[in-house]
């Protein structure tokens, strides 16, 4: 069989209308988008660096406040296990009995020639006189 130019032209024009399988197109699209999506979100992976730097600056600049005491946890706790060593007897301190201190001031009575004048001499507790 001989192929004329017209036959060839017709066959080539027919090839122009030939389509590619839709599944093959979908595969290519899926592969490209799978490549593109992580590339576009990559910068998020490094976003924590400036965020951390900013947080450190804030911590360094802002004056520290008194720590707020947290309330004790309300969870019931089992009593801690007692050690198995010999129990130590409690230390009993002997208290020295306090020396009774006289609160009353003692006076020495000194008589003078004048019966209307009496000298009262105050004596302190240590026995010194004033």
């Amino acid at each position: 069989m001989s192929w004329s130019n017209e036959d060839l032209d017709l066959a080539l024009t027919d090839l122009r209308d030939e389509d590619v399988p839709g599944a093959a197109l979908a595969q290519v699209r899926a592969r490209v988008l799978a490549e593109v999506r992580p590339a576009r979100t990559k910068w998020w992976h490094w976003a924590w660096v400036p965020a951390l730097a900013a947080a450190l600056v804030v911590v360094a600049i802002v004056p520290r406040q008194q720590p707020i005491m947290e309330p004790p946890p309300l969870l019931a706790r089992a009593p801690a296990a007692q050690p198995l060593s010999r129990p130590v007897p409690p230390i009993v301190r002997r208290v020295q009995p306090a020396t009774p201190r006289s609160e009353e001031t003692q006076f020495a009575r000194i008589l003078t020639d004048d019966p209307n004048i009496v000298i009262l001499w105050a004596l302190n507790t240590e026995g010194e006189s004033q």
């Binding site: 069989m1 192929w3 130019n5 030939e18 590619v20 093959a24 290519v28 490549e35």
Partner: protein
Amino acid sequence: MRVAPEELPIPMAWQQDDSIAAFEHLMHQHERLVLRTALRMLGRLEDAQDVAQEVFMKLYRHIGNIDAARGVESWLYRTTMNACFDQLRRRRPVEPIEWEPPIAAVQHTDMERDQRRQLVSEALKTLPEKERAAVILREIEGLETAEVAQILGSSEATVRSQVSMGRTRLKRCLEGVRA
């Protein structure tokens, strides 16, 4: 007023709506062109898919540098052809294909269109790379000679010569005469 991305030159559309959705829209518009051209050049669907993926990744990376005046299609043809040439170079060197058309098909005077199309498609694989590229772009895709020359980075005279040589080889191949 916001303009629909498909109404804008590609780089402007990209800047206006810099999103995966815009890129997907672009890809959807041009994926047939890329895969079809690669398939005709390479003859294997898996290789053509690899090339199409490579081309669209390049489109994604260089979308801002594409000359809007020339259009994205010209860029896609050129990038697809270059990727196909690279793919063919990476393939292990093989003996030139000695193709013989099926006897029954040739002897049949009233050949069906799809049979004829199949024959030409197979015969295309026997052409040298540059001739095949010129025939595909000029004769099948229907581009102007100047555009083909720009895509292939050669002169219009070279393209005309390649197309002419390619057609002659195709006819010989289809007539069952080995070149």
